[in-house]
Amino acid sequence: MADNSDMDSSANFEDLVTRYYRPLFQFAYSLTRNETEARDLTQQTFLIWATKGHQLRNASKVKTWLFSTLHHEFLKSRRRQTRFPHFELEQMNDELPVVLPAVIDQLDSQTVVEALGRVDEAYQATLALFYLEEHSYKEIAEILAVPIGTVESRIARGKAQLQKILMNTAADTKGKAPRG
């Protein structure tokens, strides 16, 4: 199980920052694919914690609260922006494409995060939380305020889309590689 009991009542601000700024930034970056925006979201999340964190009654939920707050702030910021053109995927195949782990290992984080950006927007946050492995699927449902069944379908569909994109990306990369 994901350890969520770590920041109990004795938690202080510095401990929280030290423990969670990295995964929070990585979550923010997965959503925005922009370092400045991800930094802002991470800082904003801790600022909100500093002002409203005392309202949280269940201290064991600090981590979930932080991720949930960051996601909420991300959605707020997105509502202020004009939606950017979105890559349309073909109809999802019933069968998941097979991506060799060795192929994924050859890609860098940036490429994988960019691939996530081409997945249907509704699945992106769920997938990022799934792959960051900071939370159980039940906690992911809590963070995103959706039923577990929704998390389940978003992960299944999102993974299928992501794997297909990664497969195409890897094929493109290979095609562009200089021939010796």
């Binding site: 800082q43 994924i104 860098d108 492995e133 299944a156 993974k159």
Partner: protein
Amino acid sequence: MDSQRAREILAMYRPGIDDAKDPLISEALAEVRRDPELAHWLQQEQTIDAAVGRKFRQIPVPDGLEHQILAEHKVIRPTIWRRSRALLVAAAAAVVVLAVAGYWLRRPEPETFDTYRQSMAGLVSGDYKMMLETNDLNAVRQFLAAHHSPADYVLTKSMEELPAEGCALVAWHGRRVSLVCLDRGQKPDLFLFVVNRSALPGAPSSHTPDFARIGRMTTASWTMGDTSYVLASQDTEDDLRKFL
């Protein structure tokens, strides 16, 4: 449970992260034990998940982010530190950490230039601490630039003649604001807030200063190019004019 349903459930199952004893997962895993094809699929799926997951957990985190977050939450007025020990003790009791400043800044308010100006004046009306304490104006500019805060500001000649007190990074409704504090010795400090004009609805369009009294602070606001400025001080309008 059939094999297809088990796949849907197990697609979200990560050993060691999700609870294998959860009835939903446990039932699907039982199906895996009965179905070799499903078992093969699960093994393949989890290997791919692990490879993709590694990439997400390798996303580089900027150097200094932790320090920056912590620095934004330490707030005490430096001019108070410089005064007597008695004042220091009193100040310590009255320290308002950024939590309070943050509350002040985060309360619901329209995102207009007027509320921005009030927020900034309010911020320096109370106690605070510069994130960087230095007399060097160049160091101030470098610090702000390094932290992606507005740093291409233009100081008037009379401001440039003052030593710096320090600077701070301020977030206002997601906008980055630079605060430059200038030291006037025995006289009240000058606080210059710098923000990108386009980020601020209703920001002044003119370089002619607009004066406003906010609480005990006098403020002057103007725009030059893409940058909007608010200069604040616990001083009179006439005194402030000397720096514009």
